[in-house]
Amino acid sequence: MDSQVIATQPTSAHGEHGHSPHLRHHFATVAQQREAASFGMWLFLLTEIMFFGGMFTAYLIYRNWYYPAFVAGSHWMIMWAGTLNTTVLICSSFTMAMGVYSAEMRNRKALLRYLFITLCFGIVFLGIKAYEWHDEWEHHHVPGLNFSINDFTHVDQRYPQDKPLAPDMAEKTQAYFSLYFMLTGVHALHMLVGVSILVVLLFHAWRGAYTTGHMTTIENFGLYWHFVDIVWIFLFPLLYLISRHQ
Protein backbone atom coordinates (compact mmCIF):
# COMPACT_ATOMS: atom_id res chain seq x y z
CA MET A 1 0.00 0.00 0.00
CA ASP A 2 1.24 3.40 -0.81
CA SER A 3 1.04 4.88 2.64
CA GLN A 4 2.12 8.29 1.38
CA VAL A 5 -1.26 8.72 -0.20
CA ILE A 6 -3.28 8.32 2.93
CA ALA A 7 -0.93 8.72 5.81
CA THR A 8 -0.02 11.84 7.64
CA GLN A 9 3.15 10.29 8.95
CA PRO A 10 5.16 9.04 6.00
CA THR A 11 6.84 5.78 6.94
CA SER A 12 9.69 6.56 4.63
CA ALA A 13 10.68 9.27 7.01
CA HIS A 14 11.78 6.78 9.61
CA GLY A 15 15.39 6.96 10.50
CA GLU A 16 15.47 10.68 9.88
CA HIS A 17 15.14 11.34 13.58
CA GLY A 18 17.75 13.71 14.76
CA HIS A 19 18.61 15.00 11.32
CA SER A 20 17.20 18.39 12.10
CA PRO A 21 17.86 19.80 15.56
CA HIS A 22 14.47 21.52 15.47
CA LEU A 23 12.43 18.39 14.92
CA ARG A 24 10.54 17.54 18.08
CA HIS A 25 10.34 13.92 19.05
CA HIS A 26 6.66 13.36 18.28
CA PHE A 27 6.84 14.54 14.69
CA ALA A 28 8.10 12.33 11.92
CA THR A 29 9.33 14.98 9.51
CA VAL A 30 10.16 18.66 9.48
CA ALA A 31 7.46 19.27 6.87
CA GLN A 32 4.88 17.65 9.11
CA GLN A 33 5.97 19.78 12.04
CA ARG A 34 5.90 22.93 9.98
CA GLU A 35 2.45 22.15 8.61
CA ALA A 36 1.17 21.43 12.10
CA ALA A 37 2.53 24.69 13.42
CA SER A 38 1.00 26.85 10.73
CA PHE A 39 -2.31 24.97 10.97
CA GLY A 40 -2.30 25.56 14.71
CA MET A 41 -1.61 29.25 14.16
CA TRP A 42 -4.49 29.53 11.73
CA LEU A 43 -6.84 27.88 14.20
CA PHE A 44 -5.73 30.41 16.77
CA LEU A 45 -6.48 33.20 14.30
CA LEU A 46 -9.99 31.74 13.88
CA THR A 47 -10.59 32.28 17.58
CA GLU A 48 -9.36 35.84 17.13
CA ILE A 49 -11.85 36.41 14.32
CA MET A 50 -14.66 35.28 16.59
CA PHE A 51 -13.30 37.37 19.46
CA PHE A 52 -13.58 40.51 17.36
CA GLY A 53 -16.81 39.17 15.85
CA GLY A 54 -18.78 39.88 19.01
CA MET A 55 -17.76 43.53 18.94
CA PHE A 56 -18.41 43.90 15.24
CA THR A 57 -21.92 42.55 15.80
CA ALA A 58 -22.52 45.12 18.52
CA TYR A 59 -21.17 47.84 16.25
CA LEU A 60 -23.55 46.91 13.42
CA ILE A 61 -26.59 46.81 15.68
CA TYR A 62 -25.97 50.11 17.41
CA ARG A 63 -24.96 51.84 14.20
CA ASN A 64 -28.33 50.84 12.81
CA TRP A 65 -30.15 52.12 15.84
CA TYR A 66 -28.29 55.33 16.59
CA TYR A 67 -27.14 56.40 13.17
CA PRO A 68 -26.87 60.17 13.87
CA ALA A 69 -24.89 59.53 17.05
CA PHE A 70 -22.48 57.31 15.16
CA VAL A 71 -22.07 59.94 12.47
CA ALA A 72 -21.40 62.65 15.04
CA GLY A 73 -19.02 60.41 16.96
CA SER A 74 -17.01 59.48 13.90
CA HIS A 75 -16.63 63.17 12.97
CA TRP A 76 -14.49 63.54 16.06
CA MET A 77 -12.01 60.99 14.82
CA ILE A 78 -8.72 62.56 13.78
CA MET A 79 -8.67 61.80 10.11
CA TRP A 80 -4.97 62.30 9.44
CA ALA A 81 -4.05 60.09 12.37
CA GLY A 82 -6.29 57.28 11.19
CA THR A 83 -5.03 57.46 7.63
CA LEU A 84 -1.43 57.64 8.75
CA ASN A 85 -1.92 54.69 11.07
CA THR A 86 -3.47 52.63 8.28
CA THR A 87 -0.50 53.41 6.07
CA VAL A 88 1.93 52.61 8.87
CA LEU A 89 0.30 49.25 9.46
CA ILE A 90 0.26 48.35 5.78
CA CYS A 91 3.95 49.25 5.55
CA SER A 92 4.66 47.13 8.60
CA SER A 93 2.75 44.24 7.05
CA PHE A 94 4.87 44.54 3.95
CA THR A 95 8.13 44.64 5.90
CA MET A 96 6.94 41.67 7.94
CA ALA A 97 6.23 39.71 4.77
CA MET A 98 9.69 40.66 3.53
CA GLY A 99 11.12 39.53 6.87
CA VAL A 100 9.56 36.09 6.41
CA TYR A 101 10.99 36.05 2.91
CA SER A 102 14.48 36.93 4.20
CA ALA A 103 14.27 34.15 6.76
CA GLU A 104 13.35 31.81 3.97
CA MET A 105 16.34 33.01 1.98
CA ARG A 106 18.47 32.49 5.13
CA ASN A 107 19.58 36.11 4.99
CA ARG A 108 20.17 37.10 8.59
CA LYS A 109 20.98 40.76 7.92
CA ALA A 110 17.89 41.34 5.83
CA LEU A 111 15.75 39.56 8.41
CA LEU A 112 17.11 41.78 11.18
CA ARG A 113 16.57 44.87 9.10
CA TYR A 114 12.99 44.04 8.20
CA LEU A 115 12.06 42.95 11.71
CA PHE A 116 13.49 46.15 13.10
CA ILE A 117 11.54 48.30 10.64
CA THR A 118 8.39 46.36 11.48
CA LEU A 119 9.01 46.97 15.15
CA CYS A 120 9.44 50.70 14.53
CA PHE A 121 6.20 50.84 12.55
CA GLY A 122 4.43 49.01 15.36
CA ILE A 123 5.67 51.51 17.92
CA VAL A 124 4.75 54.45 15.69
CA PHE A 125 1.25 53.02 15.35
CA LEU A 126 0.85 52.73 19.09
CA GLY A 127 2.22 56.23 19.56
CA ILE A 128 -0.29 57.76 17.16
CA LYS A 129 -3.08 55.75 18.76
CA ALA A 130 -2.05 57.01 22.17
CA TYR A 131 -2.11 60.56 20.83
CA GLU A 132 -5.66 60.02 19.57
CA TRP A 133 -6.82 58.57 22.85
CA HIS A 134 -5.29 61.48 24.69
CA ASP A 135 -7.19 63.85 22.42
CA GLU A 136 -10.44 62.02 23.14
CA TRP A 137 -9.79 62.13 26.86
CA GLU A 138 -9.21 65.87 26.63
CA HIS A 139 -12.54 66.27 24.86
CA HIS A 140 -14.41 64.19 27.46
CA HIS A 141 -15.26 61.45 25.01
CA VAL A 142 -14.46 58.46 27.21
CA PRO A 143 -17.72 56.79 28.30
CA GLY A 144 -17.91 55.84 31.92
CA LEU A 145 -14.71 57.59 32.97
CA ASN A 146 -14.75 61.03 31.46
CA PHE A 147 -17.71 61.75 29.26
CA SER A 148 -19.78 64.77 28.43
CA ILE A 149 -22.34 65.22 25.68
CA ASN A 150 -21.35 68.85 25.34
CA ASP A 151 -19.46 68.43 22.08
CA PHE A 152 -22.48 66.87 20.44
CA THR A 153 -25.23 69.19 21.60
CA HIS A 154 -23.36 72.27 20.42
CA VAL A 155 -21.77 73.14 17.15
CA ASP A 156 -18.03 73.08 17.46
CA GLN A 157 -15.94 75.37 15.26
CA ARG A 158 -13.86 72.35 14.35
CA TYR A 159 -16.88 70.91 12.55
CA PRO A 160 -19.05 73.89 11.67
CA GLN A 161 -21.19 72.01 9.18
CA ASP A 162 -22.35 69.50 11.80
CA LYS A 163 -25.82 69.91 13.20
CA PRO A 164 -26.11 69.67 16.97
CA LEU A 165 -27.76 66.54 18.27
CA ALA A 166 -30.76 66.48 20.54
CA PRO A 167 -29.69 65.50 24.06
CA ASP A 168 -31.26 62.04 23.86
CA MET A 169 -29.31 61.22 20.72
CA ALA A 170 -26.18 62.89 22.04
CA GLU A 171 -26.30 60.46 24.96
CA LYS A 172 -26.16 57.63 22.45
CA THR A 173 -22.75 58.71 21.26
CA GLN A 174 -21.63 56.76 24.30
CA ALA A 175 -22.53 53.60 22.42
CA TYR A 176 -20.23 54.71 19.62
CA PHE A 177 -17.36 55.63 21.90
CA SER A 178 -17.75 52.52 24.04
CA LEU A 179 -17.34 50.39 20.96
CA TYR A 180 -14.60 52.64 19.60
CA PHE A 181 -12.54 52.22 22.74
CA MET A 182 -13.26 48.50 22.97
CA LEU A 183 -12.34 47.85 19.35
CA THR A 184 -9.28 50.04 19.15
CA GLY A 185 -8.28 49.06 22.69
CA VAL A 186 -8.37 45.33 22.00
CA HIS A 187 -6.61 45.96 18.71
CA ALA A 188 -3.91 48.03 20.41
CA LEU A 189 -3.53 45.28 23.01
CA HIS A 190 -2.84 42.87 20.17
CA MET A 191 -0.33 45.34 18.74
CA LEU A 192 1.34 45.63 22.13
CA VAL A 193 1.61 41.86 22.40
CA GLY A 194 2.95 41.77 18.83
CA VAL A 195 5.56 44.44 19.53
CA SER A 196 6.71 42.64 22.68
CA ILE A 197 7.09 39.34 20.84
CA LEU A 198 8.88 41.16 18.06
CA VAL A 199 11.54 42.39 20.50
CA VAL A 200 12.17 38.80 21.58
CA LEU A 201 12.23 37.62 17.98
CA LEU A 202 14.74 40.32 17.07
CA PHE A 203 17.03 39.09 19.81
CA HIS A 204 16.80 35.50 18.61
CA ALA A 205 17.19 36.55 14.99
CA TRP A 206 20.29 38.47 15.93
CA ARG A 207 21.70 35.22 17.29
CA GLY A 208 20.83 33.63 13.98
CA ALA A 209 18.00 31.42 15.17
CA TYR A 210 15.70 31.73 12.18
CA THR A 211 18.08 31.73 9.29
CA THR A 212 19.18 28.11 9.47
CA GLY A 213 16.09 26.71 7.79
CA HIS A 214 13.87 26.55 10.87
CA MET A 215 11.64 29.55 10.53
CA THR A 216 8.24 28.38 11.81
CA THR A 217 8.28 30.96 14.59
CA ILE A 218 8.89 33.84 12.21
CA GLU A 219 6.28 32.51 9.80
CA ASN A 220 3.65 32.20 12.53
CA PHE A 221 4.43 35.56 13.97
CA GLY A 222 4.01 36.95 10.46
CA LEU A 223 0.54 35.43 10.31
CA TYR A 224 -0.33 37.06 13.63
CA TRP A 225 0.98 40.42 12.55
CA HIS A 226 -0.94 40.34 9.26
CA PHE A 227 -4.09 39.35 11.12
CA VAL A 228 -3.80 42.36 13.39
CA ASP A 229 -3.34 44.45 10.27
CA ILE A 230 -6.53 43.00 8.75
CA VAL A 231 -8.50 43.92 11.85
CA TRP A 232 -7.35 47.49 11.47
CA ILE A 233 -8.20 47.41 7.76
CA PHE A 234 -11.81 46.94 8.90
CA LEU A 235 -11.69 49.24 11.90
CA PHE A 236 -10.46 52.18 9.88
CA PRO A 237 -13.46 52.48 7.51
CA LEU A 238 -15.99 51.49 10.18
CA LEU A 239 -14.86 53.98 12.79
CA TYR A 240 -13.39 56.80 10.71
CA LEU A 241 -14.63 56.75 7.16
CA ILE A 242 -18.16 55.62 6.44
CA SER A 243 -19.82 58.67 7.97
CA ARG A 244 -17.16 61.14 6.99
CA HIS A 245 -19.11 62.57 4.05
CA GLN A 246 -22.03 63.91 6.08
Partner: protein, 352 residues
Protein backbone atom coordinates in the same frame (compact mmCIF):
# COMPACT_ATOMS: atom_id res chain seq x y z
CA UNK B 1 -47.41 -3.41 55.50
CA UNK B 2 -45.55 -0.20 54.86
CA UNK B 3 -46.94 1.51 57.91
CA UNK B 4 -45.34 -1.10 60.13
CA UNK B 5 -41.94 -0.39 58.70
CA UNK B 6 -41.98 3.35 58.73
CA UNK B 7 -44.98 5.37 59.78
CA UNK B 8 -43.40 8.52 58.45
CA UNK B 9 -42.82 7.09 55.02
CA UNK B 10 -46.31 5.65 55.04
CA UNK B 11 -47.89 8.98 55.77
CA UNK B 12 -45.76 10.55 53.16
CA UNK B 13 -46.82 8.04 50.52
CA UNK B 14 -50.44 8.30 51.53
CA UNK B 15 -50.37 12.05 51.26
CA UNK B 16 -48.73 11.85 47.88
CA UNK B 17 -51.09 9.24 46.47
CA UNK B 18 -54.07 11.17 47.74
CA UNK B 19 -53.51 14.21 45.67
CA UNK B 20 -51.04 13.10 43.09
CA UNK B 21 -49.88 16.44 41.76
CA UNK B 22 -48.89 16.16 38.13
CA UNK B 23 -50.50 19.23 36.61
CA UNK B 24 -51.19 22.74 37.69
CA UNK B 25 -54.86 23.71 37.40
CA UNK B 26 -56.10 24.36 33.87
CA UNK B 27 -57.51 27.79 34.40
CA UNK B 28 -57.22 29.65 31.12
CA UNK B 29 -58.36 29.17 27.55
CA UNK B 30 -54.72 28.59 26.60
CA UNK B 31 -54.12 25.84 29.15
CA UNK B 32 -56.01 23.03 27.36
CA UNK B 33 -54.14 23.79 24.13
CA UNK B 34 -50.81 23.68 25.93
CA UNK B 35 -51.71 20.45 27.72
CA UNK B 36 -52.88 18.86 24.49
CA UNK B 37 -49.54 19.64 22.91
CA UNK B 38 -47.79 18.44 26.05
CA UNK B 39 -49.51 15.08 25.66
CA UNK B 40 -48.33 14.80 22.08
CA UNK B 41 -44.76 15.45 23.18
CA UNK B 42 -45.15 13.05 26.11
CA UNK B 43 -46.44 10.42 23.74
CA UNK B 44 -43.55 10.66 21.31
CA UNK B 45 -41.15 10.69 24.26
CA UNK B 46 -42.69 7.62 25.80
CA UNK B 47 -42.73 5.76 22.51
CA UNK B 48 -39.17 6.84 21.69
CA UNK B 49 -37.81 5.93 25.11
CA UNK B 50 -39.83 2.72 25.00
CA UNK B 51 -38.29 1.66 21.71
CA UNK B 52 -34.77 2.40 22.90
CA UNK B 53 -35.28 0.62 26.23
CA UNK B 54 -36.85 -2.35 24.46
CA UNK B 55 -33.90 -2.55 22.08
CA UNK B 56 -31.29 -2.30 24.82
CA UNK B 57 -32.99 -4.71 27.20
CA UNK B 58 -34.10 -7.09 24.48
CA UNK B 59 -30.69 -7.34 22.82
CA UNK B 60 -29.00 -7.59 26.20
CA UNK B 61 -31.07 -10.62 27.00
CA UNK B 62 -30.90 -12.21 23.57
CA UNK B 63 -27.25 -11.61 22.82
CA UNK B 64 -25.58 -11.85 26.20
CA UNK B 65 -22.20 -13.53 26.05
CA UNK B 66 -23.42 -16.76 27.65
CA UNK B 67 -26.14 -17.17 25.07
CA UNK B 68 -24.32 -15.82 22.02
CA UNK B 69 -20.58 -16.33 22.41
CA UNK B 70 -19.74 -15.26 18.87
CA UNK B 71 -20.73 -11.80 17.66
CA UNK B 72 -21.83 -11.35 14.05
CA UNK B 73 -20.21 -8.30 12.47
CA UNK B 74 -22.66 -5.98 10.73
CA UNK B 75 -21.59 -2.86 8.86
CA UNK B 76 -24.82 -0.94 9.06
CA UNK B 77 -28.00 -0.58 7.12
CA UNK B 78 -28.81 2.45 5.03
CA UNK B 79 -32.53 1.76 5.05
CA UNK B 80 -32.59 1.64 8.84
CA UNK B 81 -30.49 4.80 9.06
CA UNK B 82 -32.93 6.55 6.77
CA UNK B 83 -35.85 5.30 8.85
CA UNK B 84 -34.56 6.61 12.10
CA UNK B 85 -33.56 9.86 10.51
CA UNK B 86 -36.83 10.56 8.76
CA UNK B 87 -39.34 9.41 11.38
CA UNK B 88 -37.88 11.46 14.26
CA UNK B 89 -37.43 14.40 11.88
CA UNK B 90 -41.10 14.15 10.89
CA UNK B 91 -42.24 13.96 14.49
CA UNK B 92 -40.03 16.88 15.47
CA UNK B 93 -41.28 18.96 12.55
CA UNK B 94 -44.85 18.32 13.67
CA UNK B 95 -43.77 19.50 17.11
CA UNK B 96 -42.23 22.59 15.52
CA UNK B 97 -45.37 23.56 13.61
CA UNK B 98 -47.67 22.79 16.52
CA UNK B 99 -45.42 24.69 18.90
CA UNK B 100 -45.25 27.68 16.58
CA UNK B 101 -49.03 27.83 16.26
CA UNK B 102 -49.37 27.68 20.04
CA UNK B 103 -46.73 30.37 20.42
CA UNK B 104 -48.66 32.77 18.24
CA UNK B 105 -51.86 31.91 20.06
CA UNK B 106 -50.24 32.79 23.37
CA UNK B 107 -48.42 35.93 22.26
CA UNK B 108 -50.96 37.52 19.89
CA UNK B 109 -53.68 39.08 22.01
CA UNK B 110 -57.23 39.47 20.66
CA UNK B 111 -58.11 43.04 19.80
CA UNK B 112 -60.86 43.31 22.38
CA UNK B 113 -58.62 42.49 25.34
CA UNK B 114 -58.73 44.74 28.38
CA UNK B 115 -55.32 46.09 29.27
CA UNK B 116 -53.55 46.09 32.61
CA UNK B 117 -50.06 47.47 33.14
CA UNK B 118 -47.45 45.58 35.13
CA UNK B 119 -44.24 47.10 36.44
CA UNK B 120 -41.62 44.72 37.76
CA UNK B 121 -38.92 45.84 40.12
CA UNK B 122 -36.55 44.19 42.54
CA UNK B 123 -38.47 42.43 44.15
CA UNK B 124 -42.14 43.07 43.63
CA UNK B 125 -44.82 43.20 40.99
CA UNK B 126 -46.86 46.35 40.67
CA UNK B 127 -50.10 46.21 38.75
CA UNK B 128 -51.74 49.37 37.42
CA UNK B 129 -55.34 49.07 36.32
CA UNK B 130 -56.71 51.63 33.90
CA UNK B 131 -59.34 52.52 36.47
CA UNK B 132 -56.62 53.67 38.85
CA UNK B 133 -56.44 50.59 41.08
CA UNK B 134 -52.92 49.82 42.25
CA UNK B 135 -51.83 46.44 43.48
CA UNK B 136 -48.58 44.98 44.72
CA UNK B 137 -47.83 41.29 44.25
CA UNK B 138 -51.43 40.66 43.36
CA UNK B 139 -53.52 40.88 40.25
CA UNK B 140 -57.30 40.88 40.14
CA UNK B 141 -58.83 39.89 36.83
CA UNK B 142 -62.31 39.02 35.64
CA UNK B 143 -62.98 35.59 34.19
CA UNK B 144 -64.19 34.93 30.65
CA UNK B 145 -62.68 38.09 29.32
CA UNK B 146 -59.38 38.41 27.47
CA UNK B 147 -56.88 40.33 29.58
CA UNK B 148 -53.73 41.76 28.11
CA UNK B 149 -50.79 42.70 30.26
CA UNK B 150 -48.40 45.40 29.14
CA UNK B 151 -45.29 44.89 31.20
CA UNK B 152 -42.02 46.64 31.84
CA UNK B 153 -39.21 46.35 34.32
CA UNK B 154 -37.71 49.21 36.25
CA UNK B 155 -34.34 47.54 36.79
CA UNK B 156 -33.28 44.03 35.75
CA UNK B 157 -34.87 41.24 33.74
CA UNK B 158 -37.85 39.64 35.43
CA UNK B 159 -40.27 37.11 34.09
CA UNK B 160 -43.99 37.11 34.66
CA UNK B 161 -45.32 33.61 34.95
CA UNK B 162 -48.72 32.17 35.83
CA UNK B 163 -48.40 28.38 35.59
CA UNK B 164 -52.13 27.80 35.90
CA UNK B 165 -52.69 29.86 32.75
CA UNK B 166 -49.60 28.38 31.01
CA UNK B 167 -48.37 31.86 30.14
CA UNK B 168 -45.06 33.50 30.82
CA UNK B 169 -43.20 36.46 29.44
CA UNK B 170 -39.95 38.15 30.16
CA UNK B 171 -40.30 41.61 31.69
CA UNK B 172 -37.49 43.71 30.33
CA UNK B 173 -35.98 47.06 31.31
CA UNK B 174 -36.59 49.80 28.78
CA UNK B 175 -39.21 48.08 26.70
CA UNK B 176 -42.83 46.93 26.87
CA UNK B 177 -43.63 43.27 26.45
CA UNK B 178 -47.14 41.88 26.37
CA UNK B 179 -48.90 38.67 27.21
CA UNK B 180 -52.56 37.81 27.36
CA UNK B 181 -54.89 35.22 28.82
CA UNK B 182 -58.57 34.54 29.34
CA UNK B 183 -59.35 32.92 32.66
CA UNK B 184 -61.97 30.19 32.73
CA UNK B 185 -62.04 29.22 36.41
CA UNK B 186 -62.45 31.67 39.26
CA UNK B 187 -59.86 31.14 41.95
CA UNK B 188 -56.50 32.22 43.29
CA UNK B 189 -53.41 31.24 41.36
CA UNK B 190 -49.69 31.55 41.77
CA UNK B 191 -47.81 34.37 40.14
CA UNK B 192 -44.05 33.85 39.92
CA UNK B 193 -41.01 35.73 38.79
CA UNK B 194 -39.13 33.02 36.94
CA UNK B 195 -36.11 34.97 35.75
CA UNK B 196 -33.40 35.13 38.39
CA UNK B 197 -33.34 38.76 39.47
CA UNK B 198 -31.18 39.02 42.56
CA UNK B 199 -31.31 38.34 46.26
CA UNK B 200 -35.04 38.08 46.91
CA UNK B 201 -35.93 36.48 43.59
CA UNK B 202 -37.97 33.81 45.35
CA UNK B 203 -39.97 36.47 47.20
CA UNK B 204 -41.08 38.10 44.00
CA UNK B 205 -44.26 36.11 43.96
CA UNK B 206 -47.87 36.99 44.24
CA UNK B 207 -51.30 35.79 43.47
CA UNK B 208 -53.69 36.20 40.61
CA UNK B 209 -57.26 36.44 41.77
CA UNK B 210 -59.72 35.52 39.05
CA UNK B 211 -63.24 36.67 39.84
CA UNK B 212 -66.64 36.51 38.25
CA UNK B 213 -67.47 39.72 36.36
CA UNK B 214 -69.79 40.87 39.15
CA UNK B 215 -67.20 40.31 41.85
CA UNK B 216 -64.63 42.02 39.71
CA UNK B 217 -66.95 45.02 39.28
CA UNK B 218 -67.35 45.18 43.01
CA UNK B 219 -63.61 44.94 43.55
CA UNK B 220 -62.83 47.74 41.08
CA UNK B 221 -65.40 49.97 42.73
CA UNK B 222 -64.02 49.45 46.24
CA UNK B 223 -60.32 49.60 45.56
CA UNK B 224 -60.00 52.60 43.29
CA UNK B 225 -57.50 55.21 44.31
CA UNK B 226 -59.70 58.09 43.25
CA UNK B 227 -58.41 58.93 39.83
CA UNK B 228 -57.96 56.75 36.80
CA UNK B 229 -54.61 56.15 35.10
CA UNK B 230 -55.62 58.39 32.23
CA UNK B 231 -56.53 61.18 34.64
CA UNK B 232 -53.14 60.83 36.31
CA UNK B 233 -51.65 60.98 32.87
CA UNK B 234 -53.57 64.11 32.04
CA UNK B 235 -52.23 65.84 35.13
CA UNK B 236 -48.70 64.74 34.32
CA UNK B 237 -49.17 65.86 30.72
CA UNK B 238 -50.00 69.35 31.88
CA UNK B 239 -47.36 69.57 34.59
CA UNK B 240 -44.56 68.46 32.25
CA UNK B 241 -45.74 71.10 29.83
CA UNK B 242 -46.49 68.64 27.05
CA UNK B 243 -49.63 70.60 26.24
CA UNK B 244 -47.52 73.60 25.19
CA UNK B 245 -46.53 71.87 21.97
CA UNK B 246 -49.05 69.06 21.65
CA UNK B 247 -52.07 71.32 21.85
CA UNK B 248 -53.61 69.98 18.69
CA UNK B 249 -53.93 73.42 17.09
CA UNK B 250 -52.64 73.72 13.50
CA UNK B 251 -49.80 76.05 14.46
CA UNK B 252 -48.59 73.81 17.30
CA UNK B 253 -44.93 72.76 17.33
CA UNK B 254 -45.68 69.14 18.09
CA UNK B 255 -48.00 66.65 16.42
CA UNK B 256 -51.64 66.40 17.40
CA UNK B 257 -52.00 63.47 19.74
CA UNK B 258 -55.76 63.04 19.74
CA UNK B 259 -56.86 59.80 18.10
CA UNK B 260 -53.32 59.12 17.13
CA UNK B 261 -53.13 55.77 18.91
CA UNK B 262 -53.34 52.79 16.57
CA UNK B 263 -52.63 54.83 13.43
CA UNK B 264 -49.59 54.69 11.22
CA UNK B 265 -47.40 57.77 11.18
CA UNK B 266 -44.77 58.96 8.76
CA UNK B 267 -41.35 59.42 10.34
CA UNK B 268 -38.75 61.96 9.35
CA UNK B 269 -36.33 59.24 8.28
CA UNK B 270 -38.82 58.06 5.68
CA UNK B 271 -40.14 55.00 7.44
CA UNK B 272 -43.59 54.56 8.92
CA UNK B 273 -44.38 53.42 12.40
CA UNK B 274 -47.41 52.07 14.18
CA UNK B 275 -48.38 54.17 17.19
CA UNK B 276 -48.70 51.70 20.05
CA UNK B 277 -47.74 51.70 23.71
CA UNK B 278 -44.13 50.93 23.00
CA UNK B 279 -43.88 53.68 20.39
CA UNK B 280 -45.42 56.28 22.68
CA UNK B 281 -43.15 55.37 25.58
CA UNK B 282 -40.05 55.49 23.44
CA UNK B 283 -41.09 58.72 21.76
CA UNK B 284 -41.22 60.40 25.17
CA UNK B 285 -37.78 59.13 26.17
CA UNK B 286 -35.97 59.11 22.82
CA UNK B 287 -37.82 61.66 20.70
CA UNK B 288 -35.02 61.90 18.16
CA UNK B 289 -35.35 58.25 17.24
CA UNK B 290 -39.02 58.71 16.37
CA UNK B 291 -38.96 62.12 14.77
CA UNK B 292 -42.26 62.62 12.95
CA UNK B 293 -42.15 63.99 9.44
CA UNK B 294 -43.00 67.66 9.20
CA UNK B 295 -41.93 68.67 12.70
CA UNK B 296 -38.70 70.23 13.90
CA UNK B 297 -36.57 68.07 16.22
CA UNK B 298 -37.10 70.23 19.25
CA UNK B 299 -38.73 67.87 21.70
CA UNK B 300 -36.56 67.40 24.79
CA UNK B 301 -36.02 63.97 26.24
CA UNK B 302 -37.81 62.99 29.44
CA UNK B 303 -35.30 60.28 30.23
CA UNK B 304 -34.82 60.13 33.98
CA UNK B 305 -37.63 62.60 34.69
CA UNK B 306 -40.65 60.35 34.55
CA UNK B 307 -40.99 57.06 36.40
CA UNK B 308 -42.23 53.94 34.66
CA UNK B 309 -45.62 54.44 36.37
CA UNK B 310 -45.69 58.01 35.11
CA UNK B 311 -44.93 56.83 31.60
CA UNK B 312 -47.71 54.30 31.85
CA UNK B 313 -50.16 57.02 32.86
CA UNK B 314 -49.03 59.22 29.98
CA UNK B 315 -49.35 56.35 27.52
CA UNK B 316 -52.78 55.45 28.87
CA UNK B 317 -53.83 59.10 28.59
CA UNK B 318 -52.67 59.53 25.01
CA UNK B 319 -54.17 56.19 24.12
CA UNK B 320 -57.59 57.38 25.22
CA UNK B 321 -57.33 60.94 24.01
CA UNK B 322 -60.24 61.56 21.66
CA UNK B 323 -60.13 65.30 21.26
CA UNK B 324 -57.93 68.20 22.26
CA UNK B 325 -60.79 70.09 23.88
CA UNK B 326 -59.52 69.78 27.42
CA UNK B 327 -55.91 70.41 26.51
CA UNK B 328 -56.86 73.73 24.99
CA UNK B 329 -59.14 74.49 27.88
CA UNK B 330 -56.28 73.82 30.30
CA UNK B 331 -54.01 76.04 28.28
CA UNK B 332 -56.43 78.94 28.23
CA UNK B 333 -57.27 78.74 31.90
CA UNK B 334 -53.69 77.73 32.75
CA UNK B 335 -55.21 75.55 35.36
CA UNK B 336 -55.66 71.88 35.81
CA UNK B 337 -59.30 70.83 35.80
CA UNK B 338 -60.52 69.37 39.05
CA UNK B 339 -60.31 65.64 38.70
CA UNK B 340 -63.21 63.31 38.90
CA UNK B 341 -65.55 65.73 37.21
CA UNK B 342 -67.13 63.67 34.50
CA UNK B 343 -66.98 65.37 31.16
CA UNK B 344 -70.27 66.13 29.55
CA UNK B 345 -71.23 63.68 26.87
CA UNK B 346 -70.12 64.74 23.43
CA UNK B 347 -67.10 66.56 24.78
CA UNK B 348 -65.56 63.09 25.16
CA UNK B 349 -62.07 63.56 26.41
CA UNK B 350 -61.08 60.45 28.20
CA UNK B 351 -63.05 57.36 27.55
CA UNK B 352 -63.43 55.02 30.48
Amino acid sequence: MMHYISPVLWQFLQKWLHRFPLFPPEASTIAPYTDEFYFYLLLISLVGTGIVVAMVVGFSVLYRKERNPEATQIEGNTLLEATWTIIPLGLFLIAFVWGALLYFRIYNPPTNAMNIYIVGKQWMWKAEHPGGQHEINALHVPINRPVQLTMISQDVFHSFSIPAFRVKREVIPGRYTTVWFQVTQPGTYHLFCTQYCGTLHSQMIGEVVAMSPEDYQAWTATSTSGSSLAQNGERLFASLGCNQCHSGSPEARGPNLAQMYGTKVQLANGSTAMVDDAFLRDAILNPTLHQMAGFAPIMPTYQGQVSEEGLISLVEYIKNLNSNYRIQQTLTTSQIQPTGAAPAPGQGTVKQ
